[in-house]
Symmetry: none
Subunit: 222 residues, 2 copies
Amino acid sequence: MFQKVLIAEDHGLTGSGLKESLTGLSISEILVVHYCDDALLKIKAALQQGTPFEVLITDLSFKVDYKNRSLSSGEELIAEVKKVQPTMKIVVYSVENRVGKIKTLYDDLGIDAFVGKDRRDINEIGKAIKQVFEGKTYFSESWQHALRSSENQLELDDYDILLLKLLTKGLKQEEIAQYFQERNYPASSLRSIQDRLGKLKAIFGAKTPVHLVAQAMERGFI
Amino acid sequence: MFQKVLIAEDHGLTGSGLKESLTGLSISEILVVHYCDDALLKIKAALQQGTPFEVLITDLSFKVDYKNRSLSSGEELIAEVKKVQPTMKIVVYSVENRVGKIKTLYDDLGIDAFVGKDRRDINEIGKAIKQVFEGKTYFSESWQHALRSSENQLELDDYDILLLKLLTKGLKQEEIAQYFQERNYPASSLRSIQDRLGKLKAIFGAKTPVHLVAQAMERGFI
DNA sequence: TAATGCATTGCGGGAAAACGCAAGGGAAAG
DNA sequence: CTTTCCCTTGCGTTTTCCCGCAATGCATTA
């Protein structure tokens, strides 16, 4: 089994729960850090000393606080880690439940496992570690299920989410169109914005733009 | 110290971390459940058997899954628990960080403590339990100030809040006017609705209705 | 009593958004 | 290559929203 595992998780109790659940796997050294930057520092230091970590278990979102940080998300951390230690095994442990997002993590960042924060995670994190140790990948049940029934599972792409976020920032449709045009996005005309908004309203069953954004916020899309 | 504590938390590892951190407090019985409904059932059962729980530690948001549930949030759970066992001490443990929301939990639901899911929670949850056991309330440092001092705290009256809520439900301005007229509210004309909305936009520094509602939601007013 | 201030409301013009329609245009299928 | 389909886009109409202005009414104040 792995000898050294690093956990990056900013919820204290969740981090200790994670550590606790891994102690049964005869891993000799488990370190928990609460900041992305700390994780990267520890990884570099261990590498320098010739006793590198073998696995990084990381959350994706880290709450900001008074401390200055250069890394602000798990994605950035993973990208940096891959630069300094490409052999590092990466296990993502997050509440993220968008199939597209997880697919991106796998395709672009080359993560080895994904475990969702849910009611069954306590079983799955151990399975994931074992699978990864055997050189395999692991993605949790709930995610696989979401993959199969991705039809009724509503999912928004980055375009939709950005559009909704711009709306919450107070931009008017015309300003959003301009914003997209400046960045050479597809479907950047005013009419296309309206079209997409109409489709989103249909998806969410929303009657007004306010209703749409309220729904999206309540469901955690933005 | 308390004898029986119930924990409602849908993240398995977080739940076990919570339980683990409480074992040092000489609490004889700690039960963890993953659904709101289960929590209510356990509480009712214990009450019937004459060995009621003394404290409920609960998250606010619970992920939906295949199981049918009647309760979908911590708020609903707390409200139901207060009905069947008003003496129950309530500790909320959540990522929620909106002052308005926490203020509402305290004012309307009468919670005894709030601990945020963050890097310091592992220390604070113990403190919270001890304080509550002594009949006091506990809110972490960052919240205390905000809860007491309503100085810079902008206050919205029921009219404003209802107005914003109706907007999030998808009603148009004219429908809202009609809604108010049917209930004999003052300032129920369309023009008054618009006037009020304009003032609210000024207060929140919002440029569009969507912006306004997004701000209000982010700050926990609705 | 008279004056002042503030909320409420209607009206009207202008801005923004909603939406059908139809004209391209590119990709996939035949 | 042609056809089909869908996405994108502009145009024009209708609806909704925004906001200044002014009249009214109620309460407070001089």
